[in-house]
Point group: C2
């Protein structure tokens, strides 16, 4: 996949506003954007640290993947996202090397990115997202 960088780390939280305050105080950086992603049933908050982002994720419904994650494992790191070019080709390559895909095609995610998830069963238990910024890259 030869990612250019780690685009972001997603962290599942119970109370977004509370965690924003906590991370702002801890990191010394301000959250630069809050965004709701309706089809993922999440509200997200972003911090920029060097070339990478921290994405806090709060469920907006009980059926949200984030709600199910927290119910099972508690709050904590949820996914790891790599920035790639030509996301459709990368997905094709991943599949060819035997990695199970959650998303067979890229779809729209938060922060203007085209995104797709790989199955953690294929990646030592890590939910990996690959993403491409087709607007800026």
């Amino acid at each position: 996949m030869k990612p250019s960088k780690i685009e972001h780390i997603g962290i599942a939280v119970k109370d977004l506003d509370k965690s924003i305050s906590l991370y702002e105080e801890m990191l010394g950086y301000k959250c630069y954007k809050i965004e709701e992603v309706k089809d993922q049933k999440v509200r997200t908050a972003f911090f920029k640290i060097g070339e990478t982002k921290i994405e806090l994720l709060e469920a907006t419904e009980a059926a949200s993947p984030i709600a199910r994650f927290i119910e099972k494992r508690g709050e904590g790191m949820h996914h790891l996202a790599f920035a790639v070019n030509d996301i459709e080709k990368r997905l094709h390559n991943m599949k060819e090397t035997g990695i199970d895909l959650i998303d067979r095609k890229a779809r729209k995610g938060a922060d203007g990115l085209d995104i797709a998830f790989l199955h953690p069963g294929s990646t030592s238990g890590v939910l990996i997202e690959i993403c491409e910024n087709k607007n800026k890259d």
Copy 2:
């Protein structure tokens, strides 16, 4: 803390050699170092992606924190490490803002870094490491 970057993401794995092969194939980058950290009872493998590293961690003993993590939660993301300057001052500041510390003083970690862990109970469930490269920074 005003970290300059995300220094690395630590991933707990059962079989380091197997996961190195998997990550090499998936990422398209070679592991650049394998190192045993005896006092942490882990064997680690590093990948560089942009300014950040992926650190795969395998337990070398049943009493390793990584063995206990995997027993409880399975393989997956274990900790998130921020690069800071003046780690002792940062630890002091964290404590003053009410964040519980696992390490009250910095100690030697993998890859030549001075490291300290914050308690996940204070950080929305994320095991956060702060680290300083006193040799290069």
